[in-house]
Amino acid sequence: MVPLSWYLVVAAALFCIGLYGALARRNGVAVLMGVELMLNAVNLNLVAFWRYVAPHDLAGQVFAIFVITVAAAEAAVGLAILLAIYRSRETVNVEEIDEMKG
């Protein structure tokens, strides 16, 4: 059986890729995709820990399902916002979107 650390390494790598994407990409859709990757890295961690540490509880799986749900909602809302921004500003470049500047 594959040891737990492998999963964790994969999840960490995935998280870093996602983080990089979220921080460095200029396209708003890509940023959302990075966030999605980070969330899924977390899911991976949750499921792995459930399987290796507490297989008799359902907590890990339930958590993962919740995260997936929330991620779906987040993606929907994020894409809707991006769509709305695109309609009004003709761009999805996050560098240019600074309406909230103080």
Partner: protein
């Protein structure tokens, strides 16, 4: 019955309250309430008197007492109490009855007055005051009722306050009696300090009196009893209008005549005499002290002084006012020589015949006013009346009223004979008792003594009394009418003549209560009194020479009155034959210029004081101080504003705002509005926290 004594002053008080609060728009009802109340009091009073006599109540320990706690003063209580002893009983015999007569009389006299209800309210309150004073068992209550009467006197003298003279007379009465009241109050305070009680029964206990007589006032060398008695006498001088505080009483005649009769002749002015009689043990505590000499001197001097003034007055009521002062002087003088019983006896008889005379004069004035209206109405006689404004009180404008007002005349004559002291009318017996006492005392003590002084002055005053009363009767009732008003005068209504007849009956026959042979009055009053003052209360034996002399004086005075005014009646427009006395007449007519003297001295001094204090207050001291305080306050606030408020407080407020602004500007830079920047901050923060967590 005795248990109900407290109701006697209370009923008129209730009547006063009911009239003032509820009944005043209904005139008939108001007077009925007042008369009903005083009648009830009268019935109760005579019941109490009868029982007091039947039970042989004595003074001091043997008096009837009823007590209730009243005013707490520290750990003491002033007790509200009524007391019935012989002195109270004789006053209760006189006061409510005379009040009742005068109330009834007022119904007729005040008939046309717009303030009819108010008049009855006031006299009810007055009756409460007098009755309360009489039944009070301590000096504190006595003082309270005394002041109530002072107030009523003021209100009733100024009853016709549209007249400036009436208003001023009310003020004068109030202020003049106030001088006496203040002296009396200081006496009461000293008494309370010395004895710790104001109740008569405790005050006049032999040991208390003894202590007061033995201890002397530091610095004065007088016994306390002497000093306190003299101060209390000050109150009596004010209230009973004795020299030198007599000036208010003649002016008090500005009030309605029933008031003059009730307050300023029969009852209230005798309150002063009553006070001295009531506190007599205190006066007698020190034998041959100056206090009794002072009382005798003031009384006798006033008796003669006022009677000389009375012979030169033209106002029918003023003559009677001075006569009242003079008769009160008799009573005071009698007390001063220790003729206690005679003084109280004279007080009672005088109340009856002086009320009678005043009501008679009121009836005359009433008739004259009606006559004046009638004469004016029918239009005759205007031509010889225009010279002088009409004055219904002026005796010079009367004459011949005997035929017009027979009832008034005959009753007035009875009063005159009683006042002059003609046998067997009431005044003779009481006056004779005083004179006999004085005579006997001076035989005892020699010519250089108070009794001789008193006897001499009072005998002379008796002559003058008879003279001015003769003058009054001849000028008013006999001869020919001297004005149209007198020609058209007619008899007063029955509500007025009725009381006259009743009072005349008493004025004629009351004296028989105290004849030297069967002196029921003396027995009543002196019995039990020897507890306090044994030596002064032996009955005065009848002295034929004194009686003969005083009768001769009375008849001589009346004869002289006839000689001057009756032998050849005054004609209209003629001047008073007494003007032939020249400067003396002017002096008497102007009342020895006492008023003018007071105006030039006391009143000027008081006004000067007021002005000085006004200057002190307004110009030199108090106002400048106040102004300076104000200026200092302004200066201080200005300085505070400049050196504290602006730099410190405002600076703090503005500084806080500026700091906020600066911080805000700084923090604003972090708000780039770019999501990725925020995210980066989150990442860095998480990493930092994680690092902290792992490596701390």
């Amino acid at each position: 019955m005795l248990q109900l004594t407290w109701l006697i002053p209370f009923i008129p008080l209730a009547a006063f309250a009911v009239i003032v609060l509820w009944a005043y728009p209904r005139r008939q009802l108001s007077s009925s309430i007042a008369i009903g109340a005083i009648a009830l009091s009268w019935v109760l009073s005579w019941g109490v008197v009868a029982q007091a006599i039947a039970q042989r109540l004595g003074m001091g320990e043997r008096a009837f007492h009823l007590l209730a706690d009243w005013v707490p003063t520290g750990d003491m209580w002033f007790r509200m109490g009524v007391q019935v002893d012989p002195l109270t009983a004789v006053m209760l015999f006189m006061v409510p009855f005379v009040c009742l007569m005068i109330f009834i009389y007022s119904v007729g006299y005040m008939e046309k007055d717009p303030r009819y209800s108010r008049f009855f309210a006031y006299i009810s309150l007055f009756a409460c005051g007098m009755l309360g004073l009489v039944v009070a068992d301590n000096l504190f209550m006595l003082l309270v009722f005394w002041e109530i009467m002072g107030l009523c006197s003021y209100l009733l003298i100024g009853f016709w306050f549209e007249k400036p003279s009436a208003m001023k007379a009310g003020l004068k009465a109030f202020l003049t009696t106030r001088v006496g009241d203040v002296i009396m109050l200081s006496g009461l305070l000293l008494l309370y300090v010395q004895t710790g009680t104001l109740t008569f029964a405790d005050l006049f206990a032999p040991e208390t009196l003894h202590r007061l007589a033995e201890t002397t006032v530091p610095g004065l060398g007088l016994p306390w009893a002497t000093l306190i008695a003299m101060l209390i006498f000050g109150g009596a001088v004010g209230k009973s209008a004795q020299f030198p505080l007599h000036v208010w009483l003649p002016d008090a005649m500005e009030g309605p005549t029933p008031v003059s009769a009730l307050i300023h002749a029969a009852t209230m002015v005798s309150a002063g005499v009553y006070l001295v009689a009531r506190t007599f043990p205190l006066f007698a505590a020190v034998e041959h002290g100056p206090q009794l000499g002072l009382v005798a001197f003031i009384g006798a001097f006033t008796a003669l002084f006022a009677s000389t003034i009375a012979i030169a007055q033209d106002d029918i009521k003023r003559v009677l006012a001075y006569s009242t002062i003079s008769q009160l002087g008799y009573m005071i003088a009698a007390l001063g020589i220790g003729a206690y019983v005679a003084a109280v006896f004279h007080l009672i008889t005088h109340a009856f015949f002086k009320a009678l005379l005043f009501l008679g004069s009121g009836s005359v004035i009433h008739g004259m006013e009606h006559g004046h209206h009638e004469a004016a109405h029918y239009g005759h006689g205007k031509h010889h009346e225009e010279a002088k404004p009409f004055d219904p009180n002026d005796m010079m404008g009367m004459g011949g009223l005997k035929a017009k007002m027979p009832t008034t005349f005959w009753t007035f004559l009875v009063g005159t004979l009683a006042l002059a002291g003609v046998v067997p009318f009431a005044g003779f017996w009481s006056k004779d008792e005083i004179l006999a006492h004085a005579y006997e005392a001076f035989l005892h003590e020699g010519v250089v003594s108070w009794p001789f002084f008193v006897w001499l002055l009072l005998t002379l005053a008796a002559f003058l009394t008879a003279f001015y009363m003769g003058r009054q009767v001849f000028l008013t009732f006999l001869g020919e009418p001297r004005t149209e008003a007198a020609r058209h005068a007619h008899e007063s209504p029955r509500s007025m003549t009725g009381p006259l007849v009743v009072l005349a009956f008493f004025a004629a026959f009351l004296g028989f209560a105290g004849t030297p042979w069967a002196n029921a009055f003396h027995h009543l009053l002196a019995e039990g009194y020897e507890v306090w003052v044994p030596e002064v209360l032996h009955a005065t034996p009848f002295n034929l020479s004194v009686a003969a002399l005083s009768t001769a004086m009375a008849l001589g005075g009346l004869f002289m009155g006839w000689w001057v005014y009756g032998r050849r009646p005054l004609q209209a427009g003629e001047v008073d034959p007494a003007t032939r006395l020249g400067a003396l007449y002017t002096l008497l007519r102007n009342k020895y210029y006492v008023d003018e003297f007071y105006r030039a001295t006391v009143i000027r001094f008081v006004l000067w004081c007021s002005e000085t204090f006004f200057g002190f207050d307004d110009k030199w001291v108090v106002d400048p101080i106040v102004d300076a305080v104000g200026a200092f306050g302004r200066w201080l606030s200005d300085a505070l504003r400049r050196f504290v408020d602006t730099p410190v407080v405002d600076g703090a407020v503005n500084g806080v705002a500026r700091a906020m602004d600066f911080c805000g500007r700084g923090l604003r830079l972090t708000q780039t509005g770019r999501v990725q920047n925020y995210l980066l901050v989150v990442l860095v923060t998480v990493l930092l926290l994680m690092g902290l967590y792992l490596y701390w």
